[in-house]
């Protein structure tokens, strides 16, 4: 695929060369001019895909049809490279908790008491690289509409961000804008940001990852689906007007690799208006409550092409749309552009004729523009007219659900054996307490390990008044019922170093970490979502990584008894021919019958016992220590032990239910050193601790299935752990204003705080960096 922009391809179609300059390309004309050349390649279609469209239609497609197929058959919309692998998730044993599974806008999970929760992650990687603020902002907007479309009120967001090396000049360009965009849009929508990730690695320098999760809640009976049913029912487009922004976003940005010498792609990034989206949310919820729609779909990637074809494909009949009725921001748009536009803050609903008036009334109340643009028909075709002429006449399933599927070639990366043989055991280990102390400080003050307040203070975590825990806690925790105190927990985790060393195990390690984060917070893990960020599927080695990660995640979910509720695949994450490290970001949802049982990570009181649950081995492959101190990635990731994760999770749930622990914090990147730092600094309480055996492994190894808990009742916790088969080590006692490692060294909280908090402000606080990127006067910032 070339990197010429699709917009250029389209304008060629409409103005030259030759055939279509002066004539509207109608179905009739297409039938009469079968041999006219069409720029399918510029629109991202392969020759065989173009031939298949001609076979389906039994003629050449019209310009508008070609546009529609090209965006819907893009990698982003069709999952053509990934679908054959994603079947593994659907093959998992059925879970009673899953009310709506994969294939809809988002999966829906039963969380008890008649409540259902829907949650999903979506990537907006390439737009965020080109235009950091708007790319990230519209990423939030898109996933929020997905959740809304299911019938739920969106209640929180999380963001999982990855950038190039923290001190790289381009990171200083991209990061402040992305953070401001996530915050600017989410804050203005009134959605608390309850957590996420922020990590740095050279592999993301030309291709940052911006993954946003949204979670919504509804009653079971309120679940909505994207289908057009009932002949004569009206198709209503509502929300913002359609403009020229984001044309070809899915085919150009999300489905291609960046080329350093390619043309600017700025026009393909959408521009967001969170105020309009807030009104759209409130209007939709009022429309749902009054039972005014039979089907609904949001307009995201591929815009009107996607919404109309998916609604028609999901229903039992056909659909007719009069494109002239679509309210436009730019009257010069061609019909193909209108169909491909990714203008934000738009939704499409199927409404019974008798309810149209009431529907429009609700929209008027919220100042939301709503227009009837078509109706459900009794055929099996999707037809679209423009200026009274038929420009589209297609079987909708062939557009939306029966796109191409590829079994891409796969090969194990040639460098994998060498990478795994490069064992970190050969690296110089800290030889003295002073060196170990220095390694601790290096890890916790590295950009990955450092305090993230510089970012998270730009996000509203309080709005709606139900946030129980937010970053820097292990999981985001939200109350969903003020009377029963039912609540949910969510964590997002994606260690790409582990996945690079072993994508099968790495995906499971990420699942294990997200599961553990939910469990240490006291919640019962219930369901899984994912955002799979990989390089180009046309590279066999990348495709192998992808297939292995999917296989690993599916096997891990089977072992933990958790369903995969849906997910998102983002491919072509590479610049030139260098793919990113495979980055499967895994989200786990947990539930609390009583969210007052949540367990925070910070130490609050003196004289509590500090206990380490789980077993530590000298495992440094892919560790933060190897990366930070030696710039090393090699060896094997830590040994996966899902039975141990499960035992730990069940023990922590019991301890939380019985109120036996005052804090719990998992061990992951940076090992015990990172965990102790965060727990101590949260409320400024130190501890005196004794490490047995190899202090280096004890502090910096990244063995799985571990957590630190504090308790006033050590004996009972020890007994409970023994009964659960979870190994326990007594580390010491909280208190004082330092972390005292008996026989090794002391770290005053003051020194620790200085090291931990200084890093990100030093890198990103120059005000100029932010000013240059946030478009002045266009960003609501109260």
């Amino acid at each position: 695929m070339t990197t010429d922009s699709a917009t250029a391809g389209l304008s060629d179609l409409d103005t030259g060369p030759g055939q279509l300059a002066d004539r509207l390309d109608t179905v009739e004309l297409a039938a009469a001019t079968p041999n006219d050349e069409q720029p399918f390649a510029e629109l991202g279609l392969r020759a065989e895909e173009y031939e298949r469209i001609k076979d389906i239609l039994d003629r050449r497609p019209t310009t508008a049809e070609l546009a529609m197929y090209s965006v819907m058959w893009s990698e982003h919309c069709s999952y053509k490279s990934s679908a054959v692998h994603l079947r593994r998730f659907a093959d998992l044993p059925r879970s009673d908790a899953l009310l709506v599974g994969m294939g809809e806008n988002a999966g829906v999970v039963d969380v008890g008491d008649g409540y259902a929760v829907t949650f999903k992650v979506e990537s907006h990687n390439h737009p965020s690289y080109i235009e950091p603020y708007q790319g990230a902002a519209t990423g939030v907007g898109g996933i929020v509409r997905d959740i809304l479309t299911m019938g739920a009120r969106p209640i929180a967001v999380m963001d999982s961000l990855r950038f190039g090396r923290a001190d790289a000049p381009d990171t200083a360009r991209v990061l402040p804008g992305v953070v401001a965009g996530v915050g600017g849009y989410g804050n203005c929508l009134g959605l608390p940001n309850i957590g996420g990730e922020l990590l740095f690695d050279d592999c993301y320098l030309g291709n940052p990852l911006v993954n946003v999760l949204c979670v919504g809640v509804m009653r079971h009976e309120d679940v909505r689906l994207a289908k057009a049913e009932g002949v004569g029912n009206k198709v209503v487009l509502f929300g913002a007007r359609t403009g020229g922004d984001g044309i070809g976003g899915v085919s150009v940005l999300a489905s291609e690799t960046f080329d350093a010498e390619g043309p600017a792609k700025r026009p393909a990034v959408q521009v967001g208006d969170p105020f309009t989206e807030k009104l759209l949310i409130e209007a939709c919820l009022e429309i749902f409550a009054a039972d005014l729609v039979t089907g609904i779909q949001d307009l995201g990637g591929a815009g009107l092409s996607c919404a109309t074809s998916e609604l028609a494909s999901g229903g039992s009949g056909g659909m007719h749309v009069d494109l002239d009725a679509v309210p436009l921001r730019d009257s010069t748009l061609t019909p193909a552009e209108i169909l491909m536009s990714e203008s934000q803050e738009r939704m499409c609903a199927i409404v019974e004729p008798a309810k149209v008036e009431e529907f429009l009334l609700v929209c008027r109340k919220w100042d939301v523009l709503a227009t009837v643009i078509g109706e459900v028909t009794d055929g099996d075709r999707l037809t679209v007219d423009w200026h009274g002429e038929r420009i589209i006449d297609v079987p909708p399933r062939t557009v939306a659900h029966e796109g191409p599927r590829y079994e891409r070639p796969m090969s194990r990366p040639a460098d994998l054996d060498a990478l795994r043989a490069d064992d970190p055991a050969q690296l110089p280990a800290p030889g003295s307490p002073a060196e170990l102390r220095a390694a601790w400080l290096a890890v916790i003050s590295s950009p990955d390990g450092a305090d993230k307040s510089w970012v998270t203070e730009q996000y509203d975590r309080y709005v709606r008044g139900n946030t129980v825990l937010a970053q820097p806690e292990d999981a985001g925790v939200v109350r969903i019922d003020e009377h029963s105190n039912r609540g949910i927990a969510l964590s997002l985790d994606g260690n790409a170093r582990f996945a690079r060393l072993d994508p099968y195990t790495g995906a499971q390690l990420n699942l294990a970490e997200a599961y553990r984060n939910v469990a240490v917070s006291g919640a019962r893990p219930l369901a899984v979502t994912n955002c799979l960020n990989f390089g180009s599927p046309e590279e066999p080695e990348v495709m192998w990584q992808f297939a292995e990660a999917v296989r690993g995640l599916a096997d891990g979910c089977r072992e933990l008894g958790l369903p995969v509720t849906g997910g998102n695949v983002s491919l072509y994450n590479q610049t030139g021919d260098v793919p990113i490290n495979p980055t499967p970001v895994i989200g786990v949802l947990g539930v609390y019958d009583d969210v007052r049982r949540r367990v925070p990570t910070g130490w609050r009181a003196d004289r509590e016992s500090v206990l380490l649950l789980g077993e530590t081995r000298p495992e440094f492959g892919g560790s933060a220590w190897a990366a930070v101190v030696h710039g090393h990635l090699g060896g094997r990731p830590p040994r996966l032990d899902l039975p141990a994760e499960r035992a730990l999770g069940e023990l922590l749930a019991t301890l939380a239910d019985e109120g036996l622990v005052s804090s719990a914090h998992d061990l992951a990147d940076g090992g015990l050193a990172q965990t102790l730092t965060e727990s101590a600094l949260r409320y400024g309480v130190g501890a005196t601790l004794t490490l047995d055996g190899d202090a280096f492994a004890a502090l910096l190894a990244e063995s799985v299935a571990r957590a630190v808990v504090t308790t006033t009742d050590g004996a009972t916790v020890l007994a409970a752990a023994a009964a659960a088969g979870v190994p326990v080590t007594e580390l010491g006692t909280t208190g004082g204003d330092a972390l005292v490692l008996t026989g090794l060294f002391d770290l005053s909280l003051e020194e620790l705080r200085g090291a931990w908090t200084a890093t990100l402000p030093a890198l990103f606080s120059s005000p100029g960096a932010a000013v240059g990127i946030v478009p002045a006067g266009t960003v609501p910032t109260s």
Binding site: S453, D460, Y462, V463, G465
Partner: protein, 223 residues
């Protein structure tokens, strides 16, 4: 006691303000920006958010909403009004409170748990506190930097119109660490921090914010 909470298009913390009223023992009453009826409420809260997307200037469009005409009229007759964050911006734009809120000095949106000192414990909205009391409530804004001309600031200080002041760090560059001010009669109060987010142990950094809502209830009982 009926306390109205106004919802403008883009209001976000209206549910939080209503919850705070309820937890304080009052009856929250929903008010809609496009109405002109204050529904016999005994006091009004203008909640936080981004009314009208903060387009033009934060609070500027909301200050001209139909319901605000009634609020301004009744405030001049003594109706207690509390503006929180965007609500404070609306009150300044509506001329009920002096000064203006501008872009934070560091140019970022900032959300943190913030120390405040209650400078005036004799307004309708702060009588539950003691003068000089220090409290912790969340602050979260991008345009929360309180500004006024120096002579105006001197006058406000002289008249005791500064209700709450930031302590332990100024989150947005506000002049003289001013976090909130009052009308001359002590019945209209605006502040940038969010007392409605500090009303429950489970969800807030403290329950220090509840005092704003219990104060107005006490004032009504006394009246």
């Amino acid at each position: 006691m009926r306390i109205g909470v106004i919802t403008f298009p883009g209001s976000l913390d209206d549910v939080d303000a209503a919850r705070a009223v309820r937890l304080a023992g009052g009856e929250p009453v929903t008010l809609w920006h496009a109405d002109d009826d204050l529904r016999d409420v005994d006091a009004v809260v203008l909640p936080g958010g981004f009314s009208y997307g903060d387009y033009l200037r934060a609070g500027a469009i909301a200050a001209r909403a139909p319901l605000m005409r009634s609020v301004v009229d009744r405030a001049h007759q003594g109706l207690p009004v509390l503006g929180i964050c965007n609500g404070f911006q609306v009150l300044c734009e509506a001329g009920l409170l002096p000064g203006a809120l501008t872009r934070n000095s560091h140019l970022h949106f900032r959300n943190r748990d913030q120390g405040l000192r209650v400078e005036r414990a004799d307004t309708t909205w702060t009588s539950s506190y003691t003068s000089g009391q220090q409290i912790v409530v969340p602050v979260k804004n991008g345009e929360g930097r309180y500004v006024a001309a120096d002579p105006e600031l001197d006058r406000l200080e002289g008249e005791g119109r500064v209700v709450v002041r930031y302590v332990g760090g100024n989150p947005n560059g506000s002049s003289r660490d001013i976090a909130g001010v009052t009308s001359a009669d002590g019945r209209v109060v605006g502040l940038m921090p969010h007392p409605e987010h500090a009303v429950e142990d489970l969800t807030g950094p403290s329950v220090d914010g509840l005092g704003f809502f219990t104060s107005v209830l006490a004032a009504a009982v006394a009246a």
